[in-house]
Structure formats: C-alpha cells, structure tokens
C-alpha cells in the first residue's frame, strides 16, 4: 500500500497483508471512531477486569494495578504491590458486614502472593504471601461464599482470606484454568487432563476431593470454559475441542481442528505432526451458550453447540495468533491478536444456500475411540444446510504490540490492553459527541448563558 512512498524500493515484509483480509479504510459499520490512550503502565498490560458500571482495573507485568474510570478515561487509583508481575486478577463481589455487596479485586502475583484490594480506597485489605506456588487462575464460587486459587495446588479461601482447604501439590504441572460445575464441582485444566474436584462443605469445615481425571486430550489444555448449564468445553494445543457434559463429565462432542487442504484420511495423524503447532493450537474459547468461538492459531472457528457443527470459519483471521475473542450481542464477534489489531467480524448468512464449502479447510473426524458412546460427528458437518461466513467489518489499529485482552463496556466503549504498555479506550464518536453536547448545554445552564 505504501509503495508510492517507498518509491522503487521493495515493500517491507511485515507491511504485506493477506489480500483476503485487507478491509481498507472505508468501514461504515465500524462505530469506534474515537480513541483515548490511557497511559500509566510501564510494562505489558495483561489483564483488564470490570469492577462496576464505570470502573475497571488493569494489571500487568509491572505489578501495578490501576483503577480507571471508563467514562472519562481518568485514572482513579494506583494500587501498588511489590512490583512483581501480576499473574491473575479477578473482581470479587461479596456481602460485607453492612449487608451491601461490595466489589473488591483479588490479584495474584508471581512472588507467590495473593492480595485483596478495595478499589474505593486503594487499600490492600488482605494479603497472603509465601504460597507454595504462584497462582495462575482464580475462581469465585458465590453460593459457597468462597473463592479458589489455582496453581500447583488448588486452594479454597473464604472472603476473609482464610484458607479453608487445599489439594495435594502437583509438582509436575499447575492448574491453568478452572470452571464451575453443578453440584459443588470444579473442573480444572492441568496440562493434558481435566481434573474434577468436589468441594464438600459441612458446618465445621470444608474439604476438597478429587473426583475424576479426564485424560482425553492429546496435548496440554489452553482453554477451558463453561458453555451453558449442561456443557463445558476445553481446547488443547493440538487443536482438539471437546465438549463435556457438566453433570457426568462425559464427552458430548469431539472436534479436531486441522487447517488442512485435503480431507482427513488415514494419513491425518502423520500430517498432524508436520503441521506447525501454533497454527492449530486453541488459544482461546468463548461462548454465549449456543455458539463456541474457537481461536485456533490465527484462525477463527465458530462451532454451533446444538447442531454439533461448525457454522463459520476463517482460517487467516489475523496475521498472527489470536489471543482473545468475544461474542457481541448483535451477531458480531471480535478478536484481538498478537499482530496488534482488533478485528470486528459479523456472522453473515451466505446469500444462497450453496453447496457447503469444501470441508478441506478443517478436518473433522472421528477420534474413533471405541469406548466413547458418541459417534463420529463428521457427517453432520457436511450436512449443515446453511454454513455462514465471518465477514470482517472493521478493525481497530492503534497498538504497536500484541493486543493481550479486551474488555467491553456496552455503550461506553471497548478497552484493549497491549504489550506496548498502553490501554486504549475505543468509543463511538457519534455517541461521545452527543454526550459532549449534553455536557455543554448543562454547563451553559450552570453558567447561565455564555
């Protein structure tokens, strides 16, 4: 695109973009026409957590936790920890003494400590240090009034930061993700297996027992999410997507995503090893209960839970690995990637019920384990009557490093954080202009005229 600037010289390699995905500068459906850069971090910003309707917190490798106002972009508080990088952060709402729910922030940092912050005052209310391992994930269980931390062991804490119980120490691998299941059960991803824990709570104490190991993944699990009441999903490094039954922990569906040209055949397993690992690694899963969006390498893959089939896909959705995806209400989805951009997609129906696209882009095949009750779902996919497409309707370019995460405040804006130490608040310019007009007339009234 910039050849004219470069003159005769060769364009830079990284300037090149996939022609399919170049959207151009005309983006009528992209409403984000205003941005604000929030500066404050000194290192990679990895986490964004919503606190309430107007506040959010950001944290990252510099160990700083900053609380911001999303309306003004103003930095409200700076919560200083020991300057060790933050490894997990969660907003935790509990009932305080007065009976009103109060939202706090729980952070875990790599110095093996956990802290509870009050985002109103900026005080560190509780802190626990010298844990056996650093915490990778956090999960709040409201009905038990406890929260869990997952590292090389699973710990259960009450709201006063008292350790209730914990599991044995797994020296080989830590817990990277947890989801809440019915009947006081927890599914935790630990390397290649999913461990089901059950929390048994009596009046006196609380214990956590390991119920089952689910070892169906071939490689380490990167993503574990809850899909709906009945299902949870996990995705592994080699592109396996498994839908599990939340109640009896059986496999309800099994997909192996391979971005391959040729239909799957007996050679698939050989080819699999030749494929670049990152290209089929499932980085992130997101779901609205009906659709599961799978970020596979730099591609996007939308799976319909009910139909047990893929409804849309985009093999090269980004120039680099996708780090997070998000489903919006209006059939749009967003993805952010290591290439520094955020892309907005729309699930569009194909204009004609044309013949299904070549299934070669993704191989869906039966894993064929005889013990599994479910049959191979491959045929169903090919029978899908209306395969939809993911149309790129806009992209947000601003960060100069990988976009780690985003956080959406409906009607207020979208926040993105990145390795370039910045947080960008993207807003609807029209809406903001309108709001400013209102503010103007309000001030005009206060001043009683000009």
């Amino acid at each position: 695109m910039l050849r004219w600037i470069l003159g005769a010289r060769e364009a830079q390699g990284n300037v090149e973009k996939s022609p399919v995905l170049f959207i151009g500068e005309e983006q009528p459906k992209n409403a984000f026409t205003e941005l604000q850069v929030l500066k404050g971090h000194f290192d990679i910003v990895r986490f964004l957590v919503q606190i309430d309707d107007f506040r959010f917190a950001s944290a990252g490798d510099d160990g700083l936790i900053l609380v911001w106002n999303v309306d003004t972009g103003e930095r409200l508080l700076e919560l200083r920890s020991r300057s060790q990088q933050i490894t997990a952060m969660m907003a935790y709402t509990f009932i305080r003494g007065g009976g009103d729910p109060h939202t706090s922030l729980i952070t875990a940092s790599s110095d093996r400590s956990l802290s509870l912050w009050d985002p109103d005052t900026g005080n560190r209310v509780h802190t626990v240090s010298d844990l056996q391992s650093s915490v990778k994930c956090l999960l709040a269980l409201e009905y038990l009034d406890v929260w869990l931390s997952g590292g090389n062991e699973l710990c259960v804490w009450n709201k006063d930061f008292q350790l209730q119980c914990k599991t044995e120490h797994y020296s080989d691998a830590g817990i990277t993700a947890m989801v809440e299941l019915p009947k006081s059960c927890i599914a935790a991803a630990k390397d290649r297996e999913i461990v089901i824990f059950k929390i048994i709570s009596t009046d006196l104490d609380m214990t956590v027992v390991t119920v089952r190991y689910l070892a169906d993944h071939q490689d380490s699990i990167h993503a574990l999410i809850r899909v709906n009441e009945e299902l949870f999903a996990s995705g592994s490094h080699v592109g396996e997507l498994i839908l599990w039954d939340s109640a009896d922990w059986t496999i309800r569906a099994y997909e192996h995503i391979l971005w391959e040209e040729r239909p799957a055949d007996g050679q698939a397993e050989i080819r699999m090893s030749m494929q670049k690992q990152s290209e089929m690694s499932i980085q992130h899963l997101t779901s609205d209960g009906e659709l599961v969006v799978v970020a596979v390498g730099s591609g996007l893959y939308v799976y319909h839970v009910m139909r047990r089939s893929v409804v849309a896909y985009r093999k090269h959705a980004h120039d680099s690995d996708i780090l997070q995806t998000m489903l919006l209400d209006d059939g749009q989805l967003m993805s952010c990637s290591e290439d520094g951009s955020v892309r907005i997609w729309e699930l569009q129906d194909l204009p004609l019920p044309a013949e299904p696209a070549s299934s070669g882009f993704f191989g869906i095949w039966s894993f064929g384990r005889s013990s599994k009750p479910t049959g191979p779902p491959a045929k169903k996919v090919l029978d899908v009557p209306n395969l939809r497409t993911l149309e790129l309707i806009g992209d947000l370019i601003g960060h100069s490093g990988a976009v780690q995460m985003f956080l959406n405040f409906p009607f207020k804006g979208l926040l993105t954080c990145s390795t370039d130490h910045l947080i960008i608040l993207w807003r609807d310019g029209e809406r903001q202009s309108q709001l400013r007009s209102l503010a103007l007339f309000q001030k005009l009234d206060e001043n009683q005229g000009l």
């Binding site: 004219w4 300037v15 205003e34 604000q36 806009g394 100069s400 103007l440």
Partner: protein, 878 residues
C-alpha cells in the same frame, strides 16, 4: 511651597467661551471644527510644549527642592521645550502627606508611617499639560525624617485622557509604586541592619574606651563624661534603630512573603542573602549598584565606627532612586512605567477603541482559541521567561543608560538645557499621533515596511536582549514590556486596593451616578483658574486590605478586572460584561496578573520542541518576549507574531500555487486529520509545515500541536498530540520502521510527500476550501493572503459556534429520535451552505469548541481524545 497648580474643577459648559451665538449657525453638535493650517486636527492642545505623552519622576529633595529625576521615554525630543523643573515644582507642591515620619507627639521614638500613595490629577493650562500624579514616599535612613517624597506623573496634553483613563493609570502606577516601595523596604531594612552593626561596634569601642579611661584615671574626667554621654547616645540610637527595623520588617507581609507569590519574584535568588545584598552602606560614598561579585564581598560586612556628629544635610550625597530600591525592583518599576507609557500612547479614542476591542474580544474566548491567538498567553509566556531567568539567576543587573539618576542637579540642568536648544526646531514638526499611525500601518503593511516601524524595532531589540545576556550589553536588557512581572509580583493582594480606589473615584467622579460627568469636566480645561486643586486627595483613603488567604485564580479576582472604560461609558455593556465574567481570565484593560500562573505552562511538547529546534526556540521566545500590550487596532498580537504569520501566509500562498492538491491538504488539517509532511530536506519540510500551520485549528499557545521536524518514527500517542508533523525521510532501518508506522496509522493521517510531490488523504469535493486555496488567486502578498485566510477561518469558527450552541440540533425534542436529530443537523449545515465534507470541518471545530468549553480554557489544548473517520484515502499527484 512655590506656586500652585491650576485647579481642574468641575465646571459647567456655559462658563466656557464667548456668550455670542450666531442663530444661523448649525447646532453645535453638527458643526465641523475649524481646522487651522499646520495643526493636527486631533491634537487637543497645539500649544503643548512636548510632542507626546511622557512619564516624569520627580523628587522633593531636601537639598534642592523639587527636581525632575527622569522621564520615560527618556528621549529629549519628547519633552521638547517643556520645563521639567517647573513642572516638577508644580507636581511636588501638591503635597499630600500631612504626617511625615518622625517623632510623633507623645512618643519618644521615631515612628514609620506606612502611608498610602496619593493619586491626583492636575492641570497646567499655561503649559498645556495635564498630569496624573502619583505621590509616594520612600524611606532613607539618611534623609530628613527618614523619608524621601517622590512622585511619578503621567503627563499628557489631553486632559480627557488623564481623566478617563484615570483607573487604568492609577492601577498601573500603583503597581509601579508598590514595586518601588517593596524594594525600598528591603533596602531600608538592609541599611538599618548595617547601621545597627555600626552602632553596636561603636558602642563596644566606646565602652572599651570608657573603661580604659576609668582604669587609667580612676575618676570621672570631663572627657570620660563626654564619652559616657556619647555612649548613652549610641545606646539610644541603637534602640531607635532597632525599633525602626522592627517596624519596617513588620510591614504587613502582604507581598513577597506569600509562597505562591515569591516563586516568581525576580530577586528570588537574592532572598536567601537578602541582607547581604544591600545597596549602599552609610559610609561608602562611591558604592554603585551591585554585581554578582559584590555580593560575596558584602556578605562579610565590616562594621565601622560612627562619629558622634555625622555630616549633616547639604554636604552629603543623597542616594539615587536606584540605590533607594533594590536594583531588580528599580528595573521592574522602570519596565512597568515603560509599559504604561506604551499602553497609553496615542489618541484617546484610539485607546478607547482598543480597550473596547479587547473587551469584546475577550468574550470571544469560546471560539477565538481556534484560529486567533490568545491574548493571555503572550503575557504568560513573557512571565514564564522572566521567571526562568530569575530562577537561574541569569538576570544580570541591567545598565540602563539614562534611566539612572543624574549625579547632580547641575549636570541635569545643563543636560536639560542642551536638549532644550537642540529640540526646539524639531518639536513642532512631530505630531502626537505619530505612534498610533505607525501602529496602524504596521498591521497592514508589508514585511519590509514592518521593519521600519517602531514595534518591530523594539521587539527586535528585545530578542537581542534576551539573546545575549551579557551585563556589558549597552542596550536595555529588559524587553520593553515585561509588565507581567510586576503584575505577577503584585499579585491579587494589591487588587483590593485598586478596587477600592476605583470605587472611590467612581463615586467621586460620577456625582449623581452620572457617567458623563467627565464631559463636564472636560470643558473646564480652558477656564483659567489660579487656585490649586488636587483631585481625589480625600478620596483615596487607604484601606488596608485584611491579610486574607490568597485566592489564586478565584472568580473574585476576575470580577475585579473589569475594564473601567466600559464601566464608565456604557452601562449596558457593563452589565453584559458582568455576565461574561466567569469566562474572563484576564482583564483586557488593566492587564493585571493572570489569575493562574502555571509555572509549567510550557508543556512537555514545548520543551521537546525547544530542545530539538533551536531556531524555533528563538522564534518562540521572541514571540513571547515581544508581547505587545499596547492597544492594537486589529486586536492581534505582537508585531513579531503578525510578521511570522504573514511569513507563513507568504509560504502558504506559494504552497497553494505550487501544489494543485493544496485544498485536500488544507481539508485534512481543518477536519482534524493529522497531516504528515514527509521529506528528506529539513528546510523544505519546515517551510511547508510553517506554511500550513496557519490552517491548523487550535494551534495552541506555543504552537504545540505542530511538530515541525521529527526524525524518529512516530507512535499513536504522537498522533494525539500533533496535528501537523514534519517527518524526516530516512533510508535506513529506522526509515523502514517509520514507513511501517506511517503505513500502520495511514487511516488516521494524510501524508504529503514533498520529495515526490504526492499527497495521500481523503477526497475533498466541496467548494469552501476552493475559495481559501485557489491556485489562480490574484492575491499577491503573503500578508493579504493571511488576512484573507484568517477572515475565512473566523467565519468558519462563527458557524461552528452557531452549530455547537443551537439547542435544537443536539437536544432531542419530544417525539424525537436520533435519526431526526441527525437530519436536523444535516439540514442546518446544508442551510448554512456546507456540503457533507465541509460539515466534517464544522463537526471537528464544534467538537473542539465543546471540549474547550467543558474543560475550560485552563486545560488548553486538550488532545486526550482523538477522533477519526474511516474514509478511503486517495493518492494525489501533480
């Protein structure tokens, strides 16, 4: 007292002139005044012996009586044949202080009265001179009663000017006087300290001697008694001096001690060694004003023996005015007086016009930040500069050639006489309008002509003065108008006083609240009256303002800064003005200190620019130092700024002739899209940036949203800061990095490649900019083009204002939805004659207005929010 000034009284019109009236004549209000040959029709008094207004400082010397000390301007031509000695006598004879310092009855110790200055107006119809006279008293340990009466007078041939600008004159001179007095108090305290040291030393010596005599003789000889008496005298003297010192140092610390105020006081570095930095000791006859070197020397003051009988009166040399005050304060005062002289130059109607002009302009703040320069910032910048200078102590004691007091009266007299003879021939030729007319032409004339006008010269001088800060520089080292220093120094604490006096005067002048009582007064000047009259003497009862907590930038202060001329002339305007008060940050007339001095007013960007770009630093500096507070008929800033803009206009003219896609580039800037000018040659790029900068809305006080030359790759945050960027094209890895970022952010920018003569930006199809940038334009001159642009941009800004503040365009009415609101907006803009693309400009300007209004002007250029549009760019080639 010798002689007495004429009474300038309130007289009725019928007392004036002949009683005869010709019934055939037109009513007087329609008559054309007769114009005699060789006279300037605007000159009120052609018989005045001086060519234009000037400021005279006189002293009532205890040795020789009233004597003139200096005039401002110190050009002998100004005073012409006017007898300064005689006039000094007149003004000093209006003695205002009934109570001198001394031994008040019932007290055995001398007591210092902190008397307030008096302000009087007096006229001398014989001389054709009218004066605002400001009396003040300075303390001098050696003077009779420790006081030296001085007065500063603004002398004009037009008594209406004096009367109607009384408030402004009063506040201006009060500032100057405060400055002098503060310096004087410091110097006096220093003097006292030294004297005390001397006395204590003397006491110890005498004590020793007495003891010695007692030891030797064993009995009291007459000599010993004499010594004892002497000792007792010294003791008493010590006590008295201590008391004086206590009194002078306990002077209500309204000024100077306030931490907020102190920070910018020019002599701050001296504060620590305040007492070391004394001016003159009692015994040093030849000690001149200080150098930095002297300070060290003086820090170890050697006390000296005081003789029993000190030399009295006439054989001793009195301290000069500069010695009486600290040098810094003296020069500050001089600057303030120069400023007064400058701002009251010219005809009264001209001063009026410009005052009204400024008052009205100040109401335009809502939009004027877009394309017109902000008046405040010039002053602020000057101030900033001065503060910096003071802080780093590079403020050398300047040596003003003539402003120093003549060593003796004799030399002064001969001097005056010489001037007398020399200027007699010339004085008739020059009219008093000279300065104002030159000001007028200056705005419209071409650059070459500019050089010859006064303004340019003075500003050039000031650049030079700033440029080489060597103490040896023979030129006045201070820029002509560093008003703001003293304004700042004075701070708000003075203002209650000013306010009081103004109110008093008002009530006094406007008898039955008749604002036109001035006119009545006016006619009185032709009536020759012999009795003396001092206007306002009783009126100015000084009310000591309570030491109140400082209200920096409070709205109270703003309220106090109404333009008095409006106050007096037009009640309706006044009311209107009062409504607008919260918006005002600075009085257009009195130019008192800006309520909020932001010490960090130079933004980070600015600093960066300065570091990167020395040539620009000079230009910024010159802009700031040459702030022209003199009224200017067109309302825009200093000559140098106009010159710069005109130059830019010239380059812009060249640009639109040279590049057929100039309109697109201008559209980019006006619609808020950052324009990057890419080129290998720095000069070319800078020239283009300079040319296009006149199109950048909200250019900022320091032009901080323009980056004339950037040689590193830029980031997103840079796009938020700068709207016009000159970017170096480099053929290296950094270059490719830069091109990468150019490519990455291409949706937010327009790129003008001045090497390949291409432009990549969105399309513009409207007609508005066609009028602005017509490459076949007949305009030849840069300045004309600049004014043309300025008028069009102002027009745009006015439309944007209308668009922003129309309720029905932004607030939904009943049964409205977003869509109908949007269509109403579109229709409104269509009605204004703006197509879709021009609407983008209005939208952008409107957003700027909103942000500026909501956040207030204090926030200045708010770049925190960056808006953009997703539109396709096209590549334009020549």
């Amino acid at each position: 007292m010798i002689g007495s000034p004429d009474v300038v009284a309130f007289t009725k019109e019928e007392e004036f002139g002949e009683a005869y009236t010709d019934p055939c004549l037109l009513p007087e209000e329609f008559s054309v005044p007769l114009l005699t040959a060789n006279t300037n029709p605007w000159t009120k008094t052609s018989y005045a012996k001086f060519s234009k207004d000037f400021i005279l400082i006189s002293e009532f010397s205890e040795q020789v009586g009233p004597q003139p000390l200096l005039t401002i301007p110190d050009d002998p031509k100004v005073c012409g044949t006017f007898d300064l000695n005689y006039f000094s006598l007149r003004i000093m004879s209006v003695d205002y202080q009934a109570s001198f310092v001394g031994h008040p009855p019932g007290s055995s110790y001398p007591k210092l009265n902190f008397v307030e200055d008096s302000k009087v107006v007096l006229g001398d119809s014989k001389e054709g001179a009218f004066a605002y006279v400001h009396h003040l008293t300075l303390y001098d340990l050696e003077a009779r009663g420790f006081v030296r009466p001085f007065c500063m007078a603004y002398i004009s041939a037009d008594e209406r000017k004096i009367m109607q600008q009384f408030q402004e004159l009063s506040s201006g001179f009060s500032k100057a006087s405060e400055c002098l007095k503060t310096g004087n108090r410091k110097a006096f305290a220093n003097e006292l300290e030294k004297k005390l040291k001397d006395l204590e030393y003397t006491r110890s010596v005498l004590h020793k001697e007495t003891e010695l005599q007692k030891m030797n003789n064993g009995c009291y000889s007459s000599q010993a008694i004499e010594k004892a008496n002497e000792l007792a005298n010294v003791e008493k003297s010590i006590y008295e001096h201590k008391d004086l010192l206590r009194q002078i140092t306990s002077y209500p610390n309204r000024k100077g001690r306030n931490p907020d105020k102190v920070q910018c006081e020019p002599d701050k570095p001296c504060n620590t060694n305040m007492f070391d930095n004394t001016l003159t000791s009692n015994h040093s006859e030849t000690e001149e004003s200080l150098d930095g070197d002297d300070r060290n020397q003086q820090s170890s003051y050697v006390p000296q023996l005081i003789k029993a009988k000190s030399a009295k009166c006439f054989d001793k040399r009195l301290k000069t005015l500069e010695e009486l005050c600290e040098t810094n304060f003296f020069h500050q005062t001089m600057d303030q007086l120069h400023l007064i002289e400058k701002s009251f130059r010219g005809d009264l109607c001209y001063i009026y016009t410009s005052q009204i002009d400024r008052a009205l302009l100040s109401k335009q703040k809502i939009t004027s930040f877009l394309f017109e320069e902000d008046k405040d910032w010039e002053e602020e910048a000057t101030l900033k500069h001065l503060c910096d200078a003071a802080k780093t102590d590079i403020f050398p004691p300047p040596t003003l050639n003539i402003s120093g007091e003549p060593a003796s009266l004799e030399t002064y007299k001969t001097c005056v006489e010489a001037i007398h003879i020399k200027t007699e021939a010339e004085s008739s030729g020059t009219g008093p309008q000279e300065s104002s007319t030159s000001d007028l032409t200056q705005e419209t004339s071409e650059e070459a002509a500019d050089l010859e006008t006064k303004g340019s010269f003075s500003s050039d001088k000031s650049i030079e003065a700033i440029g080489n800060m060597s103490p040896a520089n023979p030129q006045p080292l201070y820029p002509d108008d560093i008003s703001s220093t003293s304004a700042f120094y004075e701070g708000p604490s003075v203002q209650p006083h000013v306010d009081n006096t103004r109110l008093k005067t008002l009530s006094m002048l406007g008898h039955d609240s008749d604002v036109n009582s001035m006119d009545v007064f006016e006619t009185g000047n032709l009536v020759q009256l012999d009795t003396a009259c001092c206007m306002g003497q009783e009126g100015f009862i000084y009310e000591e303002p309570m030491p109140e907590p400082l209200q920096e930038g409070s709205s109270d202060m703003v309220v106090k800064q109404e333009p008095q001329s409006l106050l007096q002339r037009d009640p309706s305007l006044q009311v209107d003005y009062a409504l607008g008060e919260p918006l005002l940050t600075e009085s257009p007339v009195t130019g008192l200190s800006p309520p909020e001095i932001n010490a960090n007013s130079l933004s980070e960007d600015m600093a960066r620019v300065n570091v990167e770009d020395t040539s620009d630093t000079t230009s910024y500096m010159s802009t700031s130092t040459s702030s022209d507070r003199a009224p200017s008929p067109f309302g825009f800033g200093s000559p140098i700024t106009v010159k710069q803009k005109k130059k830019a206009g010239h380059s812009a003219l060249r640009f639109i002739r040279q590049y057929p896609f100039a309109q697109q580039a201008i559209f980019c800037l006006l619609s808020g899209r950052t324009l990057v000018i890419l080129g290998a040659d720095e000069g070319t790029v800078r020239k283009l940036v300079n040319a296009l900068s006149i199109f950048v809305p909200n250019l900022g006080k320091y032009g901080e949203i323009v980056q004339p030359w950037l040689s590193t790759s830029f980031q997103l945050t840079d796009l938020l800061r700068w709207k016009l960027i000159g970017l170096q094209r480099v053929a290296s890895p950094t270059g490719s990095n830069m091109l990468y970022s150019l490519n990455r952010y291409s949706r937010y920018i327009g790129i003008l490649d001045c090497d390949n003569k291409t432009l990549r930006c969105p399309q513009y199809k409207g007609t508005l900019i066609n009028h602005m940038a017509d490459h076949r334009t007949q305009i030849k001159r840069g300045s004309t083009y600049f004014l043309h642009i300025q008028s069009m941009l102002t027009h745009l800004a006015a439309k944007a204002f209308l668009y922003t503040f129309c309720h029905h365009l932004h607030l939904p009415m009943e049964g409205d939805d977003e869509a109908s609101l949007a269509s109403r907006r579109t229709n409104f803009l269509l009605h204004l004659g703006y197509s879709e693309e021009e609407s983008k400009i209005v939208h952008f300007l409107s957003e700027l207005i909103k942000q500026n209004y909501i956040q207030g002007p204090s926030k200045g250029v708010s770049q925190s929010i960056f808006s953009f549009k997703y539109t396709t760019s096209y590549l334009y080639k020549i």
